[in-house]
């Protein structure tokens, strides 16, 4: 590690973790019908269990997230090189009696970011950016307020996330991060990078995204960033993983944003290793057709 001057052993492994959704309102023994927040259960199947229940519609008990990260720490931490962590670190806004606030979203993100720092940092008090295992967080649609809505920076939210992620985002990228909430981390210096892409700027459910063709559109600015960064990485002979919360598939992105993003991944196939995303909770893969994206883009332009 050129920055810290320390030797590091490469393991040839990394972790992708996503959509933790810890819910501090989760109470064991309450009613699943009341999203595990309150109420007396009607029947046995309606009881919120200690570690959470699959397919119930409830978010994660905080305990589930804590136990997950404890398990990762005890079993994987010393065997991996980096962690790609693709967002949504807050409960859903599905309880009318307890609507989410912006402060709650930031607070929970702060708690999870602190936990990730504790687990993967090198414990160097003089340099909080010194990590044994690099962590690359990206922004989820539930990590912003109001839900899904995220404007082009600099905004109070981009600044707040820089504050929360200051140990993860390289210092020289602060101004760019303020604009785009996206950044690059060299996980193997000079060789391998991971891009944390703020996919909310391409996400059609973000009311502030109309297309990726106008220069004032957040998606246009994000793609501008992506293009220059990819070209610089190519120039340096580096390879790169793409990462972000909302997967770049047609149903999620505005059409022009989808076409352009897919085309970038196609035309930089000499350096892009792959793309890792979250949001959909379903473990699967989708082949993205670069040639078709170019045709669609030309047709629509």
């Amino acid at each position: 590690d050129v920055r810290s001057g320390k030797d590091k052993k490469l393991h040839g492994r990394f972790l992708h973790i996503t959509d933790m959704h810890p819910d501090s309102y989760y109470v064991e023994g309450t009613s699943i019908d009341a999203v595990c927040h309150s109420g007396k259960p009607d029947k046995k199947n309606d009881v919120a269990p200690k570690f959470g229940k699959a397919m119930s519609g409830c978010d994660s008990p905080v305990l589930l997230v804590e136990e997950t990260l404890r398990w990762v720490k005890e079993n994987l931490r010393d065997k991996i090189d980096f962690v790609i962590w693709t967002g949504d670190n807050v409960r859903h806004d599905n309880d009318r009696r307890n609507p989410r606030t912006e402060a709650q979203i930031f607070d929970m993100n702060d708690i999870v970011a602190t936990k990730m720092t504790e687990i993967f940092s090198a414990g160097n008090e003089e340099d909080p950016r010194d990590f044994d295992v690099s962590v690359i967080p990206s922004l989820g649609n539930n990590d912003v307020f109001p839900h899904n809505m995220f404007a082009l920076g600099p905004t109070l939210q981009t600044r707040e996330y820089y504050r929360l992620w200051k140990n993860f985002v390289p210092q020289q990228q602060q101004r760019i991060f303020d604009r785009s909430a996206s950044y690059l981390t060299e996980v193997i210096p000079g060789r391998l990078a991971v891009l944390s892409i703020n996919t909310l700027y391409l996400f059609q459910a973000n009311p502030l995204v109309d297309n990726c063709n106008s220069k004032k559109e957040p998606g246009y600015q994000l793609l501008l960033w992506l293009g220059y960064v990819l070209e610089e990485l190519r120039h340096r002979g580096m390879k790169v993983w793409l990462s972000g919360h909302v997967p770049p598939i047609a149903k999620n992105f505005d059409q022009s944003c989808y076409d352009k993003f897919t085309l970038w991944t196609h035309e930089y196939r000499d350096i892009i290793v792959g793309g890792l995303y979250g949001h959909m909770n379903v473990d699967h893969f989708i082949p993205a057709d670069g040639k078709k994206a170019r045709k669609s883009l030309l047709r629509n332009l």
């Binding site: 050129v2 992708h16 000079g190 501008l224 979250g278």
Partner: protein, 299 residues
């Protein structure tokens, strides 16, 4: 270039039309799914119509890959078929799809990997990826960069992004003065230059780790999950509250069936997509794991 190619070949144009029809159908199905998903969201995070969604993935994305895999021929065959077709096209437009090489097929795709979540929409899950580091282990100049520092690059990128925002302001004095100092030709050129559309990858650039096994090529993954029903049951049936019952287990790996991938290149993924389209038992296993072995079924 694609425009002219589309206009040139009747057969390619037909393929385009097929794709467009598919897209329209897909869009309707996708919108239906999105609406259901929104309703589900309003009620909570309970999964809804996920089997239908996975079926759409199979019937659209994987089917298209399977179709193209059927058209893969050796390079020699493709060349001679193309020559023959040019001659025949002059006489009569044929419906048979053009053969393609495996290289052509693989190069047009990239893979979007979507991870299972910790939130128990299904069971909590995450993945460990393994990748090739064999060529880097013995390097002595590892990590030494001869390039300019990143701060310089990001400073100039910051300026580019700032200027780009100003360019769109027709009334801005900054823009007026900048454009007038550049001259009218440059002004014209700049206005039509969309930097968010990439130029084609230059010829002679080799395919990267996603396509050809090399340094950093992903080689294998291990999918972990926590069986919540089992964990909760064990916790409640245990007399000792301090007993550590919580653990993740290996759910599956990329080298076992139906994945059976010896490396995780795009080509291997496309072969898998083709298998999942045509092989029902393989598909069922894949879907079960997509839902983190929770036993989820659509209502």
């Amino acid at each position: 270039e694609p425009y002219s190619r589309v206009r040139e070949g009747g057969e390619i144009a037909e393929e385009e039309e097929d794709d467009d029809d598919d897209d329209e159908t897909n869009l309707n199905r996708i919108l239906g799914h999105a609406m259901t998903a929104k309703e589900a969201y309003l009620m909570g995070a309970k999964p809804s119509n996920k089997e239908a969604y996975m079926d759409t993935v199979r019937d659209t994305h994987y089917r298209k890959v399977w179709n193209k895999l059927q058209r893969v021929e050796s390079e020699d065959t493709v060349e001679s078929e193309n020559k023959n077709k040019k001659k025949k096209n002059k006489k009569k437009k044929k419906k048979k799809k053009k053969p393609i090489t495996r290289q052509e097929l693989i190069e047009r795709y990239s893979i979007v990997n979507i991870g299972g979540s910790v939130i128990p929409t299904f069971n909590p899950a995450f993945r460990i990826w393994e990748y090739n580091i064999s060529d880097i282990a013995d390097e002595s100049d590892f990590g030494i960069s001869k390039d300019k520092p990143w701060d310089e690059f990001f400073e100039s990128l910051d300026k580019i992004m700032e200027e780009s925002l100003l360019e769109d302001e027709p009334d801005s004095k900054n823009i007026d003065s900048r454009i007038s100092s550049e001259g009218s030709d440059k002004k014209k050129k700049r206005k039509s230059d969309d930097k968010t559309v990439p130029v084609e990858m230059p010829e002679g650039y080799g395919l990267g780790p996603a396509y050809v096994p090399q340094l950093f090529t992903p080689t294998r993954f291990v999918q972990f999950y926590a069986d919540l029903e089992k964990i909760n049951k064990e916790y409640y049936s245990s007399l000792d509250e301090s007993k550590d019952v919580f653990k993740y287990e290996v759910e599956y790996t990329s080298d076992e069936k139906p994945y059976s991938m010896d490396t995780l290149t795009v080509g291997s993924y496309l072969d898998l997509a083709g298998r999942l389209y045509e092989d029902n038992p393989a598909w069922e296993q894949y879907v079960e794991w997509s839902f983190a072995s929770s036993g989820y079924k659509d209502d």
